[in-house]
């Protein structure tokens, strides 16, 4: 599948933005300035970006508790996200959502979700609406290998098939459901097979290789936009950090994280592929790194200095017309 140099640069910029956003959060959380629970997406960037590169603003996605990557890939404002994670009044959700509830409906981002398996039923609704709009739009449910064991996900897959809804179930198998290995928690051979058994077409792809994700998603999106029913994709990917920040990760094998970072880093794989095939110059990619680094620095700096919400704002935004 052909992809223009500009599109590649954009994809790289987004992957790098997610990576630096998450790496920086990992450091900043250590300072104690950021409250609450944070789940980092680093390692899985090629999936969010490889999927969202095929979507436009009419297409919708629902995300997970590990949602920063999906938000950035779908076009949410990076500074607004950082402000939100710092719990500031000018955050993308005015400090009311935090890391696990970032959403931007205008951008087609229907929300990160604190409940594992919370997103897929919502995505079926968005897909049913998409069908009524009749303009080829679709909806994507990002889920992990944990959510593939939730009944809500099964219900959503079946309902999508029964109603021929233009939904894509994107399963990011990072091999860990919280602190438990997929070898223990998923009883079937794989996740894609489960989707197939519900009556939809499913693909399996290496989620650490942007080019493979992008190519596969081209087929998947064409299938769904053509009205051939819902589809599923299982991405084999890796989680570089713990389940949440502060997770001691004593369930990891010896040297596992170092090995993953060496062999399975989607950013490194992207750069190697781009260099080998002369797609984007190293100079251009280095320049993007610098721009992204500046954006993240600025976001953190501004978030630190930004005002918190006012106490009286606790009462607003429950209902549209009354408190």
């Amino acid at each position: 599948m052909q992809i223009s140099e500009d599109a590649l640069k954009k994809a790289y910029r987004q992957m790098k933005t997610i990576r630096m956003f998450e790496e920086r959060l990992h450091d900043e959380i250590m300072t104690g300035e950021i409250a609450g629970f944070t789940h980092l997406y680093a390692g899985q960037e090629a999936v969010a970006v490889g999927v969202c590169e095929h979507l436009d603003f009419n297409d919708t996605i629902a995300s997970t508790h590990r949602g920063h990557g999906h938000c950035i890939a779908k076009g949410c404002d990076v500074k607004g996200m950082m402000l939100e994670i710092y719990g500031r009044a000018d955050g993308i959700c005015k400090g009311k959502g935090g890391s696990m509830h970032i959403a931007d409906i205008e951008k087609g981002m229907l929300g990160a979700n604190g409940i594992v398996g919370g997103g897929p039923p919502i995505v079926v609704g968005a897909a049913l609406a998409a069908k009524l709009y009749g303009d080829g739009r679709l909806a994507v449910a990002f889920s992990g290998d944990g959510a593939c064991n939730q009944g809500t996900t099964f219900e959503a897959m079946n309902l999508a098939v029964v109603t021929n809804a233009p939904a894509i179930f994107a399963f990011e198998n990072n091999h860990y459901s919280e602190h438990t290995g997929v070898a223990y928690a998923v009883g079937s051979e794989d996740i894609a097979g489960r989707a197939e058994s519900f009556g939809m077409k499913a693909w399996r792809v290496d989620g650490c290789d942007f080019f493979k994700v992008y190519e596969t998603m081209g087929e998947v999106v064409d299938h769904v936009r053509a009205g051939k029913g819902p589809a599923a994709v299982e991405f084999d990917t890796e989680r570089f950090f713990g389940h949440f920040e502060g997770d001691p990760q004593n369930y990891r094998g010896e040297g596992e994280i170092a090995r993953l970072r060496k062999e399975r880093d989607c950013i490194t794989i992207f750069r190697e592929h781009a260099a080998k095939n002369k797609l984007v110059s190293k100079k251009d990619l280095d320049a993007i790194d610098k721009e992204v680094s500046d954006l993240i620095d600025k976001s953190v700096e501004e978030s630190r200095a930004a005002a918190p919400p006012k106490a009286e704002d606790v009462l607003t935004d429950v209902y549209i017309d009354y408190i």
Binding site: T60, L110, V124, G125, A127, A129, A156, L159, I320
Partner: protein, 336 residues
């Protein structure tokens, strides 16, 4: 005015709103019925008769018959609502709240707040609730208390066919998630229903019966029982205000407090068990805000702290009744 059964008022309202606004979509189990059978679609037309004919008129894209998957139904309603549609989902028995609680409690109810007030989810969830048909513990409950306790939901409990029309129309046009509770024992209830455009604003109680001595507060089927009790008491020279709440969220506090300030006596009738429920909530409100007006301790007439039983005799013992309500009124009058 036309005389309609409450179930007919619901069906006519769905018809009218689907005709008025193409964004209105209905979904639920067997709301078409007969899909995938030799008998074909509309063989059933919805088990309550509240969706019969919608599929033939509006088609399968807007009248979505779903598998038995309550989480997916409510989740889909949430997703439809977030993306510009006006879904009206049906939960065939409100007891099935147990299998879709997450999508109501953690998702739909919280979208607007979690997302900083930047989203709207104009979804209606119709739930058929209540005891009186010997349907036993998992098909008879009245979960309005649980739902009313959830910030982000509006909760509606019509007691007459006219209110069913006016409140359902308002619910469908409202921009927030609304739980619309229809009592199965009221479906055959007849009453005059205004024709044409008819809406009733939320948070405005209805005075179902007027009197000077005691205030009775109720919702849904309990309004019928309370009114019957009040009519009997009137013959004995005892006057009761019967306040039909219509909506438990928002709650018309003013109507309750105004009446109690006049009567000085309060009886709250609630079909659900007594702990942490609607009755305790209203008694608390009144003792806190109209304490000086009270001439007697408030009375609660509720179901006992038990599941809903099956046998006729047991269910009768379980439910509040006009007789139990009249007894409570007499207790408040006898208190010294």
């Amino acid at each position: 005015m036309a005389e309609l059964m409450l179930r007919e008022a619901i069906l006519q309202t769905l018809f009218a709103e689907m005709e008025r606004d193409e964004n209105v979509v209905v979904l639920g189990e067997d709301i078409v019925g007969g899909m995938g059978t030799e008998g074909g679609p509309e063989a059933i037309g919805g088990i309550w008769g509240t969706s019969a004919g919608l599929y033939d008129k509006f088609g399968g894209d807007r009248v979505i018959d779903t598998p038995i998957s309550e989480s997916a139904i409510i989740g889909a309603a949430g997703g439809l609502g977030l993306t510009g549609k006006r879904p009206v989902a049906e939960i065939m028995f409100a007891d099935f709240l147990g299998v879709c609680m997450d999508q109501i409690w953690n998702q739909m109810a919280k979208f607007r707040y979690m997302f900083g007030g930047k989203t709207e989810c104009p979804a209606v969830v119709r739930m058929i609730y209540g005891a009186g048909l010997n349907a036993a513990a998992q098909h008879s409950q009245a979960p309005h208390g649980i739902l009313t306790s959830m910030p982000g939901l509006k909760v509606v409990m019509p007691s007459t066919p006219a209110d069913a029309k006016g409140l359902l129309t308002t619910a469908i046009r409202d921009q927030d998630p609304v739980i619309f509770l229809e009592h199965k024992a009221l479906y055959a209830e007849k009453g005059e229903v205004p024709e044409g455009e008819y809406t009733i604003p939320f948070g405005h109680a209805r005075l179902a019966h007027a009197g000077e001595d005691v205030t009775i507060v109720a919702a849904g089927l309990m309004v019928k029982f309370a009114t019957k009790a009040a009519q009997g008491l009137a013959e004995q020279g005892i006057g009761c205000d019967v306040i039909d709440l219509r909506t438990t969220s928002p709650l018309d506090e003013e109507a309750i407090l105004d009446s109690v300030e006049n009567t000085g006596r309060l009886v709250v009738v609630d079909e659900s068990p007594p702990r942490c429920g609607l009755a305790t909530d209203i008694v608390s409100l009144v003792t806190n805000k109209a304490y000086a007006s009270l001439k007697a301790p408030p009375e609660m007439v509720t179901s006992p702290h038990t599941p809903v039983p099956f046998a006729r005799e047991l269910e009768k013992a379980y439910l509040p009744s006009p007789g139990k309500i009249a007894d409570a009124v007499q207790r408040t009058l006898a208190w010294k």
